[in-house]
Each structure stands twice: as structure tokens, then as C-alpha cells.
Assembly symmetry: C2
Homo-oligomer: 198 residues x 2
DNA sequence: GTCTATAGGGCGATAGAC
DNA sequence: GTCTATCGCCCTATAGAC
């Protein structure tokens, strides 16, 4: 099976392809997409650079796969957490905890690549990723609207969504895992900053 | 005069060099530093690519000059605005207005490059830029501490500084100049989101 | 200060053997 | 599915003329 008959964002069931995507996520995050060569990537997974092009048509296709993984797996985690939450307040907390865990936790470099490598995505590939991003942000919007209706946060929820996501995204620039705060503590304190009722 | 006898971050008095930096800022912001070639830059200023290296030793030196310009000019503007402000509340507003004007206004691509191209800066060049960034953030910290003492914002000012700067930085990803909000209106509404007393 | 010309190397991607 | 070998291109930076 070659990749020509794949849908744009398959569930990455194929484990070899999935492994490549995970390794690429780390390299792209650490060095940037443009600075990471296909030779770097091949070496990191124990392949010659040419062999990568059996699994992906282009280097950009790898980037798109990384970004799609980052946003879909975070969306999945958020959906699971929201299903367990039993109040607007708990749902609100889930937004912060899932996002920061995905961004700062030990498993995921992919979400960070999603946030910081948009400029390297071609016009053709953008729409598909935007759909995935919008789906994630729609979950945020729902929860924030519910929280505002319950008097937990200020009512300007569209701007609130954008500012909060900006705050969380930026945490990768300064958060240190060996610092004073755990990821969960950070999530709690960031939530506290925007709550109207302590 | 060659560039070998220049200080690390001169006031960019030389107007030819300054022009190069301004044009580079726009290209680096729009295409990214790595994707922008010295040929692109030469063409944009009407020079052959080789001629650029009379003004700068390396391409990276251009990036560093852009980033230094972005942060120092924003710091200057903030200092001027703070000198005119006559209350903690006015100072707080100045933080938002200056930052967003610098980031989203018509004159500055340099600050955006400062925020998003750190990965391309060599280890040797980073410390100098970090000093400039810390100077800017120290101004923020002072004003936020004063605002917290006056009961305007929550008291966790170190985290508040980081989350607010993240919120503002992220605005470049979604703000549209032809949209419903002017930059000043946006600054007011973002400020409103974190004020304890309306 | 800017030009022409090019050195010297790295890049993404392909072809064909196994 | 992976390897070896390599194509053709583009990159930053330099040398020397003007």
C-alpha cells in the first residue's frame, strides 16, 4: 500500500508512518521545520533519507501529518475530559488542564508544531488543518459560553477564548518542567486569574 | 566604515543599514526567516545579494538587528507613554495600547519577528537579545505590581505578566485590520477582561 | 558601496537494485 | 520497505573589479 490512496488525515493507523510522525514532531519542535532536513529525520528513525519518500510524498506532507496529529489528539483528550466533567466549573478547568498537558506534557511535541509552523504550510494544505483547529476552538467556545452564563467568567467570551488560548500557547516559551510549578498547578493558577468568583 | 567596529546593538543610525533592517523585518515576518533568502532581501532593497554582506557579516546578523529593533523601539514607546500616564490605571492601559500598536500597527513587523524567530538565533547572539527583552518585561512587572497594589488586578502579577503577554502576542494570529475592532478598541477590551473593578 | 561571478556545500526528491 | 547513488537546484558567503 502506498500513500496515494490515503485520505487527507487518516487515523495514522499504520504504525511505521505513525512512528515517523512522532519523531518528526520532536525534531520540528526543537529545531524548526525549515531547519530540520530529511537527512536529520531519516537518521533519527534509522532510515536513509530517500526511504522516507516511500511513506510521504513530500517533506511538507510530514509537517501536515504532525500538525493534524497535534490538534486531533488534543481535541480527543478534551472531549473525553468534558464528558467526565459535571459542572461548568469542572468543564472550564478541563480546558486548561488538557491544553497544558498536551502542550507541556511528556508525550506531545505535535501541538506545539501546530501552533508555530503555520507559515510553512502551503495554501493547499491549510484548509484541512483549519477545519481541525476550528473544531477544537468550538469546544472551547461552548464551555466558555456555559461558564459565562453561570457567572464564572466575563461575558465577552469570543475575545476571552482568543486571549486564553494565547496565554496557554505562550506557556511553552517560559514554562520549565524542573521549575516550581507542576503542569496541573499551573493550569489551576491560570484558571484562577480569570475567574470572577474565587 | 565597515560593520566590524560596531557595538552589538547600535542605535542603527546609519540610514542604509536601517533601511535594510526595516525591509528585512517585513520579509521575515511574512515568509519566515529561514524561507527568506538573501536574494529575496537584495531584490526588495534593489541590491545584488552579495552586496548585503558589506553591511552585515551574516544573514543571522540581519535577524538579530531586526529583533533588537523590534524590542527596543517598543520599549522606548512604552517608556514615553508611561511618563505621560498619571495613575496606575492609565499606566496599565499604556501597556496594552503600546504593545498592540507596535505589534499590529502599520509600522512594525520587527516585534513580531522578535517573538517568533527565536529558534533561528544562535546561542552566541541570544544573551544580548534576552537583556533587551528583560528590560521590556521589567517595565510591565513594575506597572502590574502597582496596579495590583491599587486593587485593579489580581495579585499574582508574575503569572499575570506572562499570561497577558501571551494573549497580546497571539493577537497577530487572528486580528484583522479590516475587521470590526480598531487596535485601540481591542486594547481596551483586552484590558477590561482582567480588571477587577469595571 | 555596489557589481559580477562563483566557490563550496546542503537541500528535497527520484531511480532502480534488492 | 529499504538501500545506494545521484540529479538538479538553491543556498550563504567570498573575491576582486569598478
Amino acid at each position: 500500500m502506498n500513500n496515494n490512496d490515503k485520505k487527507p488525515f487518516p487515523p495514522e493507523e499504520n504504525s511505521r508512518r505513525m512512528e515517523l510522525v512522532r519523531v518528526a514532531a520532536r525534531l520540528f519542535r526543537d529545531q524548526g521545520y525549515e531547519r530540520t532536513t530529511v537527512r536529520d529525520l531519516g537518521q533519527a528513525v534509522g532510515l536513509q533519507s530517500g526511504s522516507l519518500f516511500y511513506h510521504f510524498r513530500t517533506k511538507e506532507e510530514i509537517l501536515v501529518a504532525v500538525m493534524a496529529l497535534g490538534i486531533t489528539s488534543t481535541t480527543d483528550q478534551l472531549q473525553q475530559a468534558l464528558a467526565l466533567a459535571r459542572s461548568p466549573r469542572e468543564k472550564l478547568a478541563a480546558l486548561f488542564h488538557v491544553h497544558l498537558t498536551s502542550l507541556l506534557g511528556d508525550n506531545q511535541a505535535a501541538l506545539e508544531v501546530m501552533l508555530y509552523e503555520w507559515r510553512s504550510v502551503s495554501e493547499e494544505a491549510r484548509p484541512g488543518l483549519i477545519v481541525l483547529r476550528d473544531r477544537y476552538e468550538a469546544l472551547w467556545q461552548e464551555v466558555l459560553d456555559e461558564a459565562a452564563a453561570a457567572g464564572l467568567v466575563k461575558p465577552d467570551t469570543r475575545l476571552l477564548r482568543r486571549t486564553l488560548l494565547g496565554s496557554l500557547h505562550w506557556s511553552v516559551q517560559w514554562y520549565r518542567r524542573d521549575g516550581a510549578l507542576t503542569v496541573d498547578q499551573l493550569a489551576d493558577r491560570m484558571l484562577e486569574l480569570i475567574l470572577l468568583t474565587p
